[in-house]
C-alpha cells in the first residue's frame, strides 16, 4: 500500500518543513543572549512578527514586504526589551515574560478585531507563490534527499543561511568578537572602548527581528488561517529557548538541534506510517505512548544542561554575564 522509500522521504521532508521556524527563534535568541541579555519573550516576539508580517504581506501581495514587516515589528519588541532592561535596568526575566504576554495578547487582539475581514492567504498570489517550493535543478531529482533537502520553500534556505551567517559573524568577525566580550564581561569590554549600550541595543533588535521571521514562516505554514483558539507559534518560542541551551549557544549547532527536536515532533505524526512500512525494524514505534514524543526533546535538553554544568565553564558557550544587567557606574 505504502512505498517505504516514499514514507521515509516524506518523513525527512516534514522534519525540515515543519520545524525550521524553531531555527529562526533559536538563532535570534543566540544573538540576543550573546550580548548578555536573557530574553524570554521569544514566543510573543514571534507572534507579533507573524501577525503583522502576514497582514502586511497580504496587503502588499508580496513575500518581501511580509518578511520586512515581520522583521521590523519583531525588532520593535527587541527595542522595547532593550529600553526596559538596558536603559532602565528592569529585571530581564520579568521583562521577557511580559513581552510574551504582551505579544500573544496583541496577536489575539488584532486577529479578533479584524474578525470577518481577515485576509485569506489564497487571495494573495504574492504570498502563495513566494512560499511555494523551489526545486534545486538536478539536486532535487536525487532519490530521497532530493525531495527531503532540495525542494523546500525559500524561507527554509533563508533560515539556514541566517544560521550560518550568524555563526560566521560570531566567530570570525571583529564585531562578533566584541559582541561576545560584551556578553562575557561588559565591564571589561567597556573599559577597552566597546560601546556596550549600542551592542546590546543592536543585537537585541536584530535578534528579535530574526525571531519575527520565524513567526512569519509559521503564519505562512498555517496558511494564514486565524481561528483564535491557538496562536500560530504554539509554544515554538519556548522550545527555541530550550534549543539555545541544547545548541550550546552555537548557531551552527542550532541547525542540528532543530533537526533533533523536529525529528521527535514529526515522529509523533509519522510513527504510524513508518511502523506500517517497516514492520520489522520499526514496528515497535506503535507501542510507544504518543506523550513520550512531546517529552523526549526536553529530556534530552535536561541531559545536555546537566552535562554542560558538570563540565563547568570549559566548552560551554553560555555567556558569563547572561541575565545580568550592566550598571556602568557600579563597574
Amino acid at each position: 500500500m505504502n512505498d517505504p522509500i516514499n514514507v521515509l522521504t516524506l518523513f525527512l521532508f516534514n522534519i525540515i518543513l515543519v520545524n525550521i521556524p524553531l531555527l529562526y527563534g533559536t538563532v535570534g535568541e543566540i544573538l540576543v543572549e550573546k550580548s548578555g541579555s536573557l530574553d524570554l519573550g521569544v514566543e510573543g516576539t514571534m507572534a507579533i512578527g507573524a501577525i503583522f508580517g502576514y497582514l502586511a504581506g497580504c496587503a502588499a501581495n508580496s513575500l518581501a514586504v511580509g518578511l520586512l514587516v515581520s522583521f521590523l515589528t519583531a525588532g520593535l519588541c527587541g527595542l522595547l526589551f532593550s529600553l526596559l532592561t538596558v536603559s532602565l535596568q528592569a529585571n530581564q526575566n520579568v521583562t521577557g515574560l511580559t513581552i510574551t504576554t504582551f505579544g500573544l495578547g496583541l496577536y489575539f487582539f488584532v486577529g479578533k478585531g479584524i474578525g470577518e475581514r481577515w485576509p485569506a492567504m489564497t487571495a494573495s498570489e504574492g504570498l502563495v507563490k513566494g512560499y511555494a517550493s523551489l526545486e534545486f535543478p538536478l539536486l532535487s531529482k536525487l532519490p530521497v534527499i532530493g525531495k527531503a533537502l532540495f525542494s523546500h520553500n525559500i524561507l527554509v534556505y533563508l533560515g539556514i543561511a541566517i544560521a550560518i551567517a550568524v555563526w560566521w559573524y560570531l566567530n570570525f568577525t571583529k564585531t562578533g568578537l566584541r559582541l561576545r566580550a560584551v556578553g562575557e564581561n561588559p565591564g571589561a569590554a567597556d573599559s577597552v572602548g566597546v560601546n556596550t549600550l549600542l551592542y546590546k541595543y543592536v543585537h537585541l533588535i536584530v535578534g528579535s527581528g530574526i525571531m519575527g521571521l520565524g513567526g512569519f514562516y509559521m503564519a505562512l505554514y498555517m496558511s494564514g488561517s486565524f481561528e483564535g483558539s491557538n496562536c500560530w507559534i504554539n509554544g515554538y518560542g519556548w522550545i527555541a529557548i530550550a534549543l539555545v541551551i541544547f545548541a550550546n549557544w552555537n548557531p551552527a549547532l542550532a541547525i542540528l538541534g532543530t533537526l533533533v527536536f523536529g525529528f521527535f515532533n514529526t515522529l509523533q505524526i509519522y510513527s504510524g506510517p513508518l511502523a506500517g512500512v517497516f514492520p520489522g525494524p520499526l514496528g515497535w514505534l506503535n507501542a510507544i505512548p504518543p506523550q513520550l514524543y512531546k517529552a523526549l526533546p526536553f529530556l534530552i535538553t535536561a541531559i545536555v544542561l546537566v552535562a554542560s554544568s558538570v563540565r563547568k565553564r570549559e566548552g560551554s558557550g553560555q555567556p558569563a554575564a547572561l541575565g545580568l544587567n550592566y550598571f556602568r557606574e557600579e563597574r
Binding site: 498555517m222 488561517s225 483564535g228 491557538n230 509554544g235 509523533q268 526536553f298 544542561l305
Partner: protein, 423 residues
C-alpha cells in the same frame, strides 16, 4: 549567580513544556456581566414581567470572547436560545469563563453564580462533573445542567449530550460518494483521540459506516493527535494522511479548519466538524457534522422557567435526567452540501437517510446496513442485514440485531468498526 541562571533556564524549559498548548493568557477567572439583580436603586424601569427575575448562569472552559471552538459554540447556543425566549443575554446571562477542570475552581464558579442569583447553571466541560454533582445537592433551589457528562439526580441536576454520530453518518455518505466518484477508496480522518473516548470513536465509526454505505470498499485511515486542539498538529496530520495514504477525502474531529485547508491545498476534499467550513475551504469542503446547541439550551431554560421557583421539578420537566437528542430533535445535523464540489446526488441521498433516521426506523449502530440506488434523482434505500463487526473481526451486533447506541450514550464504546485503520 550561575545557579540562579541555571534555575531560570530550567524554569524556561519547563514553561515551554506547559506552554505548548498555550493560547489564551491571563483572562480573569471570574468576569460577571453587569446588571446582576439586587441593586434596587433602579425603580424607573421595572424588569420585563416574563423573564426579568430569571437568570441563566454558565461556566465556560475557554473565554466567552472566543470567535471559534467549543466555548464559542456553547456561548452562541445559550445566547441564541435566550434571545429566542425573549431574554436579554446582556443582563440575564451570568458567565464565569476560563474555568479549568479543577474541582475547587468549579465550586468557586458555582458559588459566584449562585450568589449572583442564577436560576439555572450550565457547565459545558466534562471535568466539571464532580463539582456540579456536589453543588447540585448544596443548592437545591438552582437547576444544574452538565454537558457531556453522565451524572445526574432525580430533582435539580441533569446532563446533556447529543447523537452527533447520526450527523457523522450523513457526512460519511458525502465522503463515500466522493471517494467512489474519485475512484480512490482511501479516506482520512484527523482525530483528537480514537478509542480512548466513546465520543471520538463513535464519531469515527459512524463516519466510516456512512462512507461504506456509499462506497463499500472505502477504508478510513485515522490519525490521532492526542489533544483536543492543536492547529499545527491538525495540519501535520492531515498532510500526512494525504501524503502517505493518498487520501482523497479528509474528515476531522478537531476544532480548527486546518484539515480542510490542507485538503484544498492538495486538491482533495473534506468533511468538517462543528461549523460549516465551506467558507474556509470552498473548493474542498463537502459538508460538516454540526451541533445546534441552542435547541438544547432553549428546552432546558424553558423547563427551568416552567419550574416556577421549585427547582426540584427540573428533571421532571425535562422528561428525564439525561438529555440525549439527535437528528430528530434538530440538535445535530450535517451542514448544507457544497454542491460545487460534492458528488452528484449527494444531497438527495443524505436527505433520504436523514428522513429515515428521523423516522426512528433505523439507527447507525445496528445489524442493518444501508446502500443506495439513485435513478433520475430518486433515491431508494436498500436495507441489508449484516453483522456489525469491529476491525479485529469480533461481531458487535449480529445481522439484523438492534441498535447499540447505548455504548455511545453510556460511554462504553471503545472499538473501531471494520474498515477503520489507525495509522
Amino acid at each position: 549567580m550561575k545557579k540562579i541562571l541555571a534555575l531560570a533556564l530550567a524554569a524556561a524549559m519547563s514553561l515551554s513544556l506547559v506552554a505548548c498548548g498555550g493560547g489564551n493568557t491571563s483572562t480573569p477567572a471570574a468576569s460577571s456581566k453587569p446588571g446582576a439583580s439586587g441593586s434596587g436603586a433602579d425603580v424607573s424601569t421595572p424588569p420585563p414581567a416574563d423573564s426579568g427575575e430569571f437568570k441563566v448562569g454558565a461556566i465556560y472552559i475557554n473565554s466567552q470572547n472566543d470567535t471559534a471552538g467549543y466555548t464559542f459554540q456553547h456561548h452562541n447556543g445559550i445566547t441564541t436560545a435566550m434571545k429566542d425566549l425573549g431574554m436579554d443575554p446582556a443582563t440575564d446571562l451570568l458567565i464565569v469563563d476560563t474555568v479549568a477542570e479543577n474541582y475547587d475552581d468549579v465550586c468557586k464558579a458555582i458559588d459566584t453564580l449562585a450568589n449572583q442569583g442564577a436560576n439555572i447553571i450550565f457547565g459545558i466541560s466534562f471535568g466539571y462533573i464532580d463539582a456540579m454533582n456536589d453543588k447540585a445537592a448544596e443548592y437545591p433551589d438552582i437547576c444544574f445542567s452538565h454537558g457531556t457528562g453522565y451524572m445526574a439526580n432525580d430533582t435539580n441536576f441533569n446532563n446533556y449530550f447529543g447523537r452527533i454520530y447520526q450527523a457523522r453518518y450523513l457526512a460519511g455518505i458525502a465522503a463515500g460518494l466522493k471517494s467512489a466518484e474519485l475512484g480512490n477508496n482511501s479516506i482520512g480522518y484527523v482525530a483528537a483521540y480514537n478509542t480512548e473516548y466513546a465520543e471520538t470513536c463513535s464519531g469515527i465509526n459512524a463516519f466510516a459506516l456512512g462512507a461504506q454505505s456509499a462506497n463499500p470498499d472505502a477504508t478510513v485511515y485515522v490519525k490521532k493527535i492526542n489533544t483536543w486542539g492543536d492547529e499545527n498538529l491538525e495540519r501535520q496530520a492531515a498532510q500526512a494522511l494525504v501524503d502517505t495514504y493518498n487520501c482523497g477525502v479528509i474528515s476531522q474531529h478537531c476544532d480548527s479548519a486546518q484539515p480542510q485547508l490542507v485538503a484544498q491545498e492538495n486538491n482533495v476534499f473534506g468533511c468538517g466538524y462543528n461549523s460549516d467550513m465551506t467558507e474556509q475551504a470552498p473548493n474542498a469542503h463537502l459538508t460538516a457534522a454540526i451541533w445546534h446547541w441552542n435547541v438544547y439550551y432553549q428546552t432546558a431554560i424553558q423547563a427551568a422557567m416552567d419550574c416556577a421557583g421549585d427547582a426540584s421539578k427540573f428533571v421532571e420537566k425535562m422528561g428525564g435526567n439525561a438529555y440525549y437528542a439527535g437528528l430528530a430533535e434538530g440538535f445535530v445535523d450535517a451542514s448544507p452540501v457544497n454542491e460545487a464540489v460534492a458528488a452528484p446526488d449527494t444531497a438527495a441521498v443524505m436527505d433520504a437517510v436523514r428522513r429515515l433516521i428521523k423516522s426512528g426506523d433505523w439507527d447507525v449502530f445496528t445489524g442493518v446496513k444501508l446502500s443506495y440506488t439513485v435513478v433520475d434523482g430518486k433515491v431508494e434505500i436498500i436495507k441489508t442485514d449484516a453483522d456489525l463487526a469491529d476491525n479485529q473481526g469480533n461481531v458487535i451486533v449480529a445481522a439484523g440485531g438492534p441498535s447499540v447506541d447505548d455504548g455511545v450514550i453510556k460511554g462504553s464504546m471503545n472499538y473501531n468498526v471494520a474498515g477503520v485503520q489507525e495509522g
